[in-house]
Symmetry: C2
Subunit: 392 residues, 2 copies
C-alpha cells in the first residue's frame, strides 16, 4: 500500500485560469490548524467574526450572511431552491454558462422559467429586463454579475431598482466578482447574493459565501412546502449560524478557518485598494494582449477586472498553447466554456494571483509560445504595452 499510493506532490503552479486562484500562504497555514468541534465556543467565535467580515465584503447589514458548506454551485442552488416553489415565475438573465446553469436549476425547482438573453460577451441590457418585467410578475429575477464564461461584468444598479419596484426578489451570482470588484448588496437592492471562495477571495474551493435579506427570509418563512434540499435549507442553517446554535450538519471546520483568514487578508488590504489592484492589473493585461494583436471577447467598457477572455488566434491550437504554458512556465490558463469552447482562453487575475509579476510573465510566455506556434507577433510588444499601462 505505502508503495502504491505516494504522498501527494503536486507541481508548482501559477493559477491564472477562471479559478481556483493561488491561495495566500497565510490561508494555507490557517487550514492546517488542529480542529475544535463545530459547537466549541472557540469555533462559534470564529463563525461570528467570519460573518462580520463577510458582511463588510458584501457591503450588507443582512443578518444571515454565511458560508454555505459547498462550492459556488451549491450557493447557486441554495439561493434558488430556498425561494422558488412549484409554479413560481422566475426570470433568469442568460449571456453565458452560469446563467444557463441557473435556468437549469429553476427547472429542477419546478419554477416557471422566463429567460432574458443577450449574446455571449455582451451585457444584459437593462431595458430588456424592463420589458420582460412588464409582461410578467416573477417572484425572482436572477442574474450573474461577472460571467465566468465570457468575462463580462454586468451593471446591476438599474436592474436592481426595477426589480425592487416590481416587488420581486433580486438574486445575484457574484462567484467571480466578490472581493475583486465592488459588490454592494444593500445599495443595489440585491435580496440574495452568493459567491465562491476560490476566485477573488483566494481561499480554496469548498465554500459559498451567501447572504439573504429580510425580504428573502420572509419568502422562505412563508413557503407552503419544505425546501426541496435538506442540506441547503436556509431556515435550518440559519438556526446553527444564529444565536440558537442548533446542530444542522457538521460545519467544514478547516475550510472555515481558511475562510476566516482569507477575509482577514482582504480587509487588511482594504476593499478600495483591492479593487484598484484588480483594475490596474487587468487593464495592463488587456493593453498587452491587444498590442499583441489578440482579440478581447468581452464588450468594451464592461470587462470584468478579474477575468479576461481572449480569442484564440486563427491557426493556433488551443491545447498546444495551454500545455506548453503549463509545462514550461507552470502557468494555468482556462479554456473556453460553452459557446467559447476551443475558441477562447480565460485569463484570471484573481486575489492572490492578481499581480504585476503574473501579468508580465504571462505576456512574455504567451508571446514566446505563440511565436513557436507560428503566430506572427513582434517580440516584446505585449510586455511593453503592459508596462506602459502600469506606468501610465
Amino acid at each position: 500500500m505505502a508503495q502504491v499510493y505516494k504522498e501527494i506532490k503536486p507541481s508548482m503552479r501559477t493559477l491564472m485560469g477562471p479559478g481556483p486562484s493561488d491561495v495566500d500562504p497565510r490561508v494555507l497555514k490557517a487550514m492546517a490548524t488542529p480542529l475544535v468541534g463545530h459547537l466549541d465556543p472557540d469555533f462559534l467565535a470564529i463563525m461570528d467574526a467570519s460573518m462580520d467580515m463577510l458582511r463588510r465584503l458584501f457591503q450588507t447589514q443582512n443578518n444571515l450572511t454565511i458560508p454555505i458548506s459547498g462550492t459556488g454551485s451549491a450557493g447557486m442552488e441554495a439561493a434558488l431552491c430556498n425561494v422558488i416553489e412549484e409554479g413560481d415565475e422566475v426570470l433568469v438573465c442568460v449571456n453565458g454558462v452560469f446563467g444557463q446553469r441557473m435556468s437549469d436549476i429553476v427547472g429542477r425547482c419546478r419554477g416557471k422559467l422566463t429567460v432574458v438573453e443577450a449574446d455571449w460577451g455582451k451585457i444584459i441590457p437593462p431595458e430588456r429586463v424592463r420589458s420582460a418585467l412588464e409582461k410578467s410578475q416573477p417572484r425572482v429575477v436572477a442574474i450573474v454579475h461577472a460571467e465566468t464564461s465570457t468575462g463580462v461584468l454586468q451593471p446591476l444598479e438599474e436592474i436592481g431598482q426595477m426589480v425592487r419596484e416590481r416587488d420581486a426578489l433580486f438574486l445575484v451570482d457574484t462567484v467571480t466578482s466578490l472581493a475583486g470588484a465592488p459588490v454592494k448588496v444593500d445599495e443595489w437592492n440585491i435580496d440574495i447574493c452568493y459567491s465562491g471562495t476560490q476566485k477573488c477571495l483566494s481561499c480554496p474551493p469548498g465554500l459559498s459565501p451567501i447572504t439573504f435579506n429580510d425580504r428573502a427570509m420572509d419568502v422562505i418563512r412563508d413557503r407552503k412546502e419544505k425546501v426541496q434540499s435538506w442540506y441547503l435549507d436556509m431556515s435550518m442553517i440559519e438556526r446553527y449560524w444564529g444565536s440558537e446554535r442548533v446542530y444542522h450538519h457538521t460545519a467544514p471546520i478547516s475550510m472555515i478557518y481558511a475562510f476566516h483568514e482569507a477575509l482577514r487578508v482582504i480587509h487588511e488590504e482594504g476593499l478600495k485598494n483591492r479593487f484598484q489592484r484588480h483594475s490596474k492589473n487587468s487593464a495592463a493585461l488587456a493593453a498587452g494582449l491587444k498590442a499583441m494583436g489578440m482579440k478581447l471577447l468581452a464588450q468594451e467598457g464592461y470587462r470584468a477586472p478579474m477575468l479576461t477572455t481572449v480569442g484564440i488566434p486563427e491557426g493556433i491550437t488551443d491545447l498546444n498553447v495551454r500545455k506548453k504554458l503549463l509545462s514550461d512556465y507552470l502557468i494555468e490558463l482556462g479554456g473556453g466554456l460553452g459557446d467559447f469552447k476551443g475558441t477562447a482562453w480565460r485569463v484570471g487575475l484573481m486575489g492572490y494571483s492578481c499581480t504585476k509579476r503574473n501579468v508580465l510573465c504571462l505576456l512574455n510566455a504567451l508571446e514566446s509560445i505563440l511565436a513557436e506556434e507560428g503566430f506572427s507577433v513582434e517580440r516584446g510588444v505585449g510586455v511593453d504595452a503592459a508596462n506602459q499601462a502600469f506606468n501610465g
Copy 2:
C-alpha cells in the same frame, strides 16, 4: 481591521464527541499544500488514487466511488435524491436521528415513505424489515449502519439479502462506521453507500465518500425527470470523476488533498488492524464506564465500536460535566441528540482519536468531575477496569 479580527488561535482539544475527531497531523499538513487546478493532470492523478483507496475502504468494485463536495448530510441527500422520483415507495428504518433525517429527505424528494421503527438504542430487527417488504414493493430500502445518536451498530447482511431478493436498492448510511468497523459494500449487497470524512477517517469535515453500483446507476439513467439537485446530480458528477473529465463544479482541492492523505494513513495501518484498535479501545472504555456504575444505552452485542452512548447519572447536570471536561481537561464529549437530549453523553473513539491514552484520560477525568458533582463513585475503579480490559 487588523486589530479587530485576530488570527485564529483555537484552544487545544481532544475530540471525543460524535465527530469531528482529531485529525492526524499528516492530514493537516497535506491540506496546507499549495493548490493546482481541478483539471490539472496532477490533480486528476490524485483523484484516481483517492478513488482506488476509497474502493478498498468500502470493499467494493464499484466504479463510481468518490467524495461528494459536502459533508455527510450532503452524501445522505445525494444518495436519496438521485434514485427517488415523485411517488416512488421508499422504506426507511428509523431508530435514531439519522433515520429520521433520511425520512425527512424522502419527503422532500416527493417519495412515498414507509417507516420501519425500533426503539432508540436497539437495532432494527431484520424480521421487521421482512414483514414490511411483504406488504410493499419499495424502490429503495434505507438504513443507518452506526446510528450516531444512539451508538447502535446495525447488522446489515441479512437485510441486504432480502432487499436484493425483492429487487429494491439497498441504501446504507455509514457516516460513523466507515474506517472504524467493516463496511462490505459488495458482499452485503449494498447498492448505495455514503459516509463522512470527520469520523473514523479522521479527515476534517467537508466531504462525503459515496459509492453507487451499476444497479443504482441504471435507476439514475432511467429516470423520467432530472435529479432535483443540480449540485448532487450523480449523472453529471460521474462525468467529471470518470474518464471524460467534464467540468461540473470546482472540486474542493484542499479537502481532497486531505482525503487522499487520510486514506493513505488508513491503508498503511491496514483495515484489520484499524478495526481491531477500535474494538479494543471501545471495549476498555465500556468496561471502565460500567465499573463506574454508568449505564450504556446501546443494546448489548450491538454497540458501535467508535461511538458509545452513556446515560447521564441521576442528579448530574449534563452541561456542568461537559464544561469542566472541556475547560480543565480539554476533552470534548458529545451531548445527547433527539430523544437522548440531556440524558446521554456520546463518547467517540474515532480514527486518530481512538487511543488507549484517550480512554484512560477520559475515565480519570470523568471520575474526578463526577465526584465533584456529587456522584458516588469509588476512585480508580474505571481506569482499573479499563486497564484490565486492555491487558486481558
